[in-house]
């Protein structure tokens, strides 16, 4: 039995990406908050996922973006580099292209506002709702944060409760705290 060598496997994955045959390319990125599944479409970064159960996550990506979902490291390299820099404390904002085309209008508006919350600062759910021109929609904003397809890059960890409590986080409160500490927002 001749196993497929890692070089041959890698060659195919590179070729699939360079011939533009993929709906989604993804890879895993190691960070201080764990291994992240990072995915990109031809339009830009489309998913960052904590604790991904790969099979379920791939099914989800295929349903949303198309069935040609393949692990392929090269298209993810730019996101990997920016995430590395962020976790080393050398990057305060991300310059990646993002693919939010398939989100509902309200979600996109809230995430656009979220993207403007600066590094190291926090905002309440109510305040973010107000900035999104829906001042009474704090709870809906919470739901949008919970479903944020691009945590860290779209900094939902910077959104906290009116009482100053961290409230919740898709990746778990421990990670929210870790990210805010990294940014110097909490001691």
């Amino acid at each position: 039995m001749n196993p497929v060598s890692p070089e041959l496997d890698r060659r195919f994955r590179d070729a699939a990406a360079s011939e533009n045959l993929l709906d989604v390319a993804y890879d895993f990125v190691d960070t201080p908050v764990g291994s992240l599944l990072v995915a990109t479409s031809e339009r830009g970064l489309c998913r960052i996922s904590y604790d991904a159960e790969p099979e379920r996550e791939l099914e989800r990506l295929a349903r949303t973006f198309g069935v040609r979902v393949l692990r392929s490291p090269k298209p993810v390299d730019e996101a990997r580099r920016e995430l590395d820099e962020y976790f080393e404390g050398n990057r305060r904002r991300f310059d990646l292209r993002l693919d939010l085309a398939l989100l509902a209008d309200f979600n996109r508006r809230v995430l656009d506002e979220l993207a403007r919350v600066p590094y190291g600062e926090v905002v309440t759910y109510g305040e973010l709702a107000a900035r999104s021109e829906r001042p009474r929609a704090a709870r809906a904003v919470g739901t949008v944060m919970n479903r944020n397809p691009l945590p860290i890059v779209l900094p939902c960890h910077r959104v906290i409760g009116a009482n100053g409590k961290l409230v919740g986080y898709g990746g778990g409160l421990e990670r929210k705290e870790q990210l805010l500490r990294l940014e110097g927002a909490i001691l």
Partner: protein, 150 residues
């Protein structure tokens, strides 16, 4: 059911397809053929309407790539002639003829008589064994004969 994400299809079939290509072409030429097979599969993948018989589908693509690879002139090897007498490759006629067969019989007939695979490989392609592959091929042929005569 729509086909699974391509990654899962690739992970499930890459080893056996590679093994098959190594048997057909030798390990050196199998590497290029392997890449070509899965790039072809990737191009066609969005057009699949369901996720059934994907293994046989992968073998069919690999067989076609192996034949093309055989046809390519190479200085260092004398290769067998695979075209049929009238110049059309045998599998081109067969694939069309076999369209009306149930999927398993169709795959068995096309792989056996179109691509000249042995029953062990066809069994692997069908996810069964050589005996079952032989039965599927012969009942496919019987069905084709019946159609022909009716």
């Amino acid at each position: 059911m729509s086909p699974p994400p391509f990654e899962l299809f690739y992970e499930e079939h890459r080893e056996e397809i590679y093994g098959f290509l190594v048997r057909r072409l030798g390990s050196q030429r199998a590497e290029d053929a392997f890449q070509e097979t899965f790039l072809k599969a990737l191009r066609a993948y969005p057009k699949l309407r369901h996720g059934e018989h994907l293994r046989a589908w992968a073998y069919t693509i690999a067989s076609r790539v192996a034949i093309d690879e055989h046809r390519r002139p190479r200085a260092d090897a004398e290769l067998p002639e695979l075209e049929s007498l009238d110049g059309r490759p045998a599998f081109a006629q067969l694939e069309h003829l076999a369209d009306a067969l149930p999927p398993t019989e169709r795959a068995a007939v096309v792989l056996r008589y179109g691509y000249d695979l042995d029953y062990t490989d066809i069994g692997a392609a069908l996810g069964s064994n050589a005996t079952a592959a032989r039965q599927a091929a012969s009942s496919g042929i019987r069905r084709l004969r019946k159609k022909e005569s009716s």
